[in-house]
């Protein structure tokens, strides 16, 4: 129950502003801070795996190097381009929302989601290749390509890291899908676009994690 009537913030549905916030500005400030804190937790979640990668890379440098060569660098690079572009399109979606161009914003969101699907598609192709080669984690590793100790460890980390990242891509897609639905409903405007901004922030994180994964797994 907000004392501020809809007329205080044109284009903003009344129930959006929490009764406990003194103003909409305060609320958006809070939402932004909350999202950044949440992103920090995501970074730390992946940090554990990066730590494991560092430790085992140090222990099995040759195995890691050789196994890395056997990853599909074409698909990996394609995926990187896809994700970076999708970050661009989601930023455009925010821009269009802020300039009250609802249709364009929706289009950009749709493109972003399609890029995400494309990413998952490429990843699926890569995974299928690994399965065929028996380059699998832990005790299932039976690849003829790299047979030195530590190769299984590389694939354990590869599957854990890309798997966890893939789950986050799916989560990000769901979030953006929800934001798309709200956009089509006309909920966002230049006065209130937090949903799109926060969704975009999350998507940028998903992209950022991949930008670190890609060189560690594919390039070095």
């Amino acid at each position: 129950m907000s004392p501020e009537s809809a007329s205080t913030y044109p284009g903003v549905p009344e129930e959006v502003v929490g009764h406990h916030f003194s103003s909409l500005e305060r609320q958006t400030e809070a939402m932004r801070l909350g999202m950044w804190l949440f992103l920090a937790t995501e970074v730390l979640l992946f940090a554990g795996l990066f730590c494991g990668y560092t430790v085992y890379r140090f222990e099995f440098p040759l195995a890691f190097e050789q196994s890395s060569r056997h990853l599909n660098i074409t698909l990996g690079t394609l995926n990187t381009v896809v994700l970076i572009t999708s970050s661009f399109t989601v930023a455009m979606a925010i821009h269009y929302t802020r300039t009250n161009q609802r249709k364009m914003a929706a289009v950009c969101l749709v493109i972003t989601i399609l890029f995400a699907l494309l990413f998952l598609g490429f990843k699926a192709i890569e995974y299928a290749e690994h399965f065929r080669e028996h380059a699998l984690p832990g005790k299932y590793y039976a690849s003829a390509e790299v047979r030195i100790p530590g190769a299984a460890m590389f694939y354990t980390l590869y599957f854990l890291m890309t798997g966890l990242h893939g789950l986050h891509v799916i989560a990000g897609m769901s979030v953006l899908g929800f934001v798309l639905w709200r956009t089509l409903q006309g909920r966002y405007s230049s006065n209130y676009y937090m949903g799109v901004e926060l969704g975009g922030l999350y998507w940028h994180l998903v992209d950022l994690v991949w930008i670190f994964l890609y060189p560690l797994l594919y390039l070095i």
Partner: protein, 549 residues
Amino acid sequence: MRLSEADSHALAGAAAHRNYLEDGTTVMSWLNTRDHKRIGVMFLASVIFFFLIGGIFALALRMKLLQPGPFLYDALSYNRLFTLHGVVMIFLFLIPAIPAAFGNFVVPLMIGARDVAFPRLNLASFYMYWAGALIAIYGMVHGGADTGWTFYTPYSSTTPTDVAPILLGAFVLGFSSILTGLNFIVTTHTLRAPGLSWMRLPLFVWGIYATSIIQILATPVLGITLLIVTVERIGGFGLFDPARGGDPVLFQHMFWFYSHPAVYIMILPGMGVISECVCAFSRKNPFGYKAIALSSIGIAFVGFFTWGHHLFVAGQSTFNAGAFGILSMLVGIFTAVKVFNWVGTMYRGAIAFKTPFAYICGFLYFLVFGGMTGVALATTSLDIHWHDTYFVIAHFHFIMVGASVMAFLAALHYWFPKMFGKVYPEGWGLVAASLIILGFNATFIPQFLLGNFGMPRRYYQYPEQFQALNVASTAGATLLGFGFLIILIYLAIALKYGAKSEANPWGSKGFEWMTDSPPTTHNFDQIPTITQMPHDYRTHEPPGVTRVA
């Protein structure tokens, strides 16, 4: 932007004479609430329930330990019991207890806000708590894990008991913890009343804020670590399995990276409670406000760099041990500073010995001993003898039960009138406090001696020379259990049949006493402007809701 007079009266009129407990009496109105006070009460009931469960496990363990040989049940059951005792007490009680129950209720009141920043997220964290609890209960009913709450690999990745539900339950509970912390940080940054600068914040809010930082930064690392162990169990992936090139000590590093800061999650809120209670019951401003406030942040920060002191004999390098040892000493200093300042608060105060004050005394004594034995452990050479013996058990129980639980009970009694508008029987309060303090000493001082004597942890059977001290400890535990039972009974009775409390029965000048007891759903008729520090007793106000403007 503040409410206009007209608007605030309109608001007040709509909910006049109805406090938050009466505002909607259906079950759904509770399960679907956004009100931080109701969520706090629901958390309170939940954590008390799980404290009792964990306590029953503890008593079962102590009963077995009356005899050195096999007795009452077998070794596998014993191993499951101590694992579940740890998991329930830590993840289902200690981590959420003060922040989610009392923090939720009191923090918005203390900063002059109508709710936390994200009320729906708050409700979500309550449901996540129960989701995690139910998953863990499923695991327990299925026999439960026998790994210890520390889940060391490769034992935890190879034991045939049902470990995965416990791991997943802990993962989900971690999520709940993260959401609670996130909410409090944003609340403190964005919902402070006009005039409430950081250096005027109540010390309890500082404590919760520091705790929330740890919750946000440390819990995800536990999450990923437990996830990896789960995957290792299900899929044989072998990140920590030496047979596949993995390093079991890496697990220990990653696990303790969370679990050491976690112990500060368990004590910092309690320290905040004690700060409030010492000021209220000494009727005095805090001695060294800045020191107490900033030492909370200090503990949170330095606490992240000390995890290696759990690995002094684990085979890590001597250099590592030295680095972690010296940093562990630093953390102890912040606690010492607080203790001196709390005692200093009593100087030239006007002290009333009520039940919360009895718990303050218990807290101070247990914190000093528990803390000092922690410092002793950190000297590295002494830890060689004490590591994984009953000395360590006694050390952490002194802090986790002796200090944290005393603080929890202090909070429960101090804020009981605020939360429920009822008065608890003071006489019984003091009786229970005495029993608990006595029982606690009788339970855990023998355990320090057992550790010195050489009895290792997690021992189902033990060499006969350890029996006398074990019997003493069990006797103490029984006394302790009685003390808790008495509290449960008289609080339940007070809830139903207790006398109505006035708005500020303690005459405290903490900011939460600016509203009614119990508060209305919206907390304040009008958001106050705060121009002074909390607990300023240079003037006396007539009884009733205190004003600070």
